[in-house]
Amino acid sequence: MRTLLILLRTNFLSLVGSFRKKGTVSVIAAAIGLVVLALFMIGMFAIIGGSTTFILVEKDLDEFAIYLSISLSLIIALMFGVTNSTRDARGNDTDMLLAMPIPKSCIVLSKLLGMYLLDVLCSLVMLVPTFLIVCFVGDHSFALFGRGMVIAFLLPALPLFISLLFSALISYLKKATKFGQIASTIVSMGAVLLYMIVVPNISSYAESMNISPAESVDKMKKILPFYWFTEAIYSGDLLCMILTILVTLIPMVLAVYIHTRGLNGVNYQADNSKKARSFKTASVRKAALQMELRRYFSSSNYVMNTLFGTVILLVAVIVICVKGINHFPMLEDITVNGEPVNLLEKFAGPAWAAITSLLILFFAAMTYTTPPSVSVEGKRIWISKTLPIPTKDILNAKILVSVLIFQPVSIACCIALSIATKCGILPCILSILISSGFQLLTSLIGLIFGLIYVRLDWTNEAQVIKNGFAIILTMIISFLLIGPFAAGSITALIIGDEAVTYGILGGEVLLLVGLCAGAYAIITHYGVRKYESLNG
């Protein structure tokens, strides 16, 4: 126990120290950022949990309100757990700790407790408003709140166990096959998509519930463990309480046991698979590009944080093409005098190019691989700097990765939307030019910020991929840049004249050409100098 406390204290001191070494200004900025983020997350989760509960309690579905909040908190914890488990959770200090007279179970527990406490915080934020509303509005005794609090502490063990299992599966896949990275990325994206579908729609689901309390019990019984948790809180049923404790604690004990058994230092294992060795050749530029692409796709963190806009764009366009433009979820709500508008009749030709390109600009602003692309080289920057590769080619490769990832999807989407809206070839070409040009511009801006706010001394690449200042700035500037294009498109739609619309769209293309040329000039002059002055 004493050792565990020492490890926990050291983890805490290490966390504090990681802020301290950045200097006072950075610490204050980081602290403000963390507080804002925490308030936003707490506020968002509390509002979602609270409003859903309120709706259900007003319908006399108090127990179902608890059930739904529990489900929601578990889904959120699972989403965070699964996305985090794609990273290597071993930690840099494991070898050092294993060399000390510390029981392995202590090392594992100290690491798991850190994750568990974060999940508990998330669980409390979601569930406390629910318990309070059920107690006060639903007129229940305060004992319900007490039971709820106890179980709110126990529940995070379940998603933690599942994410640890997933982590083990991913690390097995990475070792045994070449699909581990892809599997990790797909499952992480699936978890985020599940979160994005469930969380924003939970209140409307609650509103649409028209069932009796008895019917709600039948619904809850479909997922038994969740029902046990709910019953344990709502009625204090002893059997359900015991089952809740067993269901949450046994996996946790198992997780500690399995991780303790598996915790070893780095073991090199010779490759006995006798895979064929490939000696394919490539030009210098192609080699630099291949290297950038490999670096990108080998990091699920990198892919997860930058490919999301592209995936969502693809999904949105498939939905539009399959369901028809008039039945797209956001567009079917457009009405004039209470009558739904037939968008295909209202707009034609270049007007669709204005709408299509604007839609794609939003997703382009979410897809930025270039801001962390310099920092992610870290201490390996000596390789590209000592090899005879022109710096311009290295930077071009970083831009090309971004272009290759987004542009094929963007072009395909423009063509698909043009077919769906029957807008014609010229508007289709204009929408391709605008969306491609804008994406290129945001990639160039991202690379400039990536060079200005470069950080090579990271210990975990997530530090530069997820939290880099260059990413935040690029995102802000990209969304601000959408403004003039949105203004142009809206003006074209209001005027409704075909020639004016073509004129505006042509002007947007010229503006993008000018901006891209300017940004590229900055990269080839300032950027090259800055890259050459970097030291890992």
């Binding site: 490759d271 895979k275 490539a282 030291n535």
Partner: protein, 238 residues
């Protein structure tokens, strides 16, 4: 092959990395560079391979100025750092292919060289494994193969024997000698004075960023051991 004249490098804040350092490595020579920690060895090496910009002086490799034509100078040089941070997510072979592509090594030659050096250093079976699974010594071996793969004229090595097992260290020394016997040159830093004494044709001792002794092994150490001379000279300079 390598000519450094009046090299001076001062770090931001005024700390002198190297001051007025001059030396020359001729074709066929193994040139050892020794000194205490922080003496300026790595600073000099990083300036030679183009990782550090310097304030004054000139560095030429095979007659090519490092500052005026860095790409051409790099194309005849290979560098092995003291702590080889390689691309963890690549396999060893993918990394070697990348380096071979950059130096335009044809397929036939790269296959032959990779297999020969990897067999020599006993990591042939590990080439299809990810670099992240390699030990420090294996990463060092991979960096050494990457350096030899394009047959450079000058090999710059920073503490090349750290982490190598005795057999690999022996193989690397043999490879270094063979490399220089073909008319190429090696400039390397080391703390292992016995290795320097046995392997080097010439030696330079640096302290506080200044060269305090240089020449052939006989000129520098005479009849004494290199260890005694090193300790004496560095103490005197202190």
């Amino acid at each position: 092959m390598l000519k450094i004249e009046h090299l001076t490098k001062t770090y931001p804040g005024g700390k002198v990395g190297v001051a007025d350092l001059s030396l020359e490595v001729k074709p066929g020579e193994i040139y050892g560079f020794i000194g205490h920690n922080g003496a300026g060895k790595t600073t000099t090496i990083k300036a030679v391979v183009g990782l550090h910009k310097y304030d004054q002086g000139t560095i030429t490799i095979d007659g090519i100025s490092v500052s005026a034509d860095p790409l051409k100078a790099k194309s005849v040089t290979a560098y092995i750092p003291d702590n080889p941070e390689l691309y963890d997510n690549l396999t060893g072979l993918q990394f070697l292919n990348f380096v071979a592509d950059v130096f335009r090594v044809p397929k036939k030659e790269r296959k032959e060289r990779i297999e020969r050096y990897a067999a020599e250093l006993e990591i042939l079976d590990a080439l299809n494994n990810q670099v992240s699974s390699y030990s420090h010594g294996m990463k060092q071996k991979l960096a050494i193969i990457a350096a030899f793969i394009h047959e450079p004229k000058l090999l710059v090595m920073d503490e090349p024997f750290v982490g190598l097992d005795p057999k690999a260290a022996f193989s690397v020394k043999k490879m270094m000698r063979e490399f220089c016997d073909k008319g190429n040159a090696i400039f390397f830093s080391t703390h292992v004075l016995e290795v320097a004494e046995k392997l080097c044709d010439k030696i330079a001792i640096i302290k506080g960023g200044r060269l305090i002794a240089s020449g052939t092994m006989e000129e520098v150490k005479g009849d004494a051991s290199l260890e005694e001379v090193f300790l004496d000279i560095t103490e005197e300079a202190h």
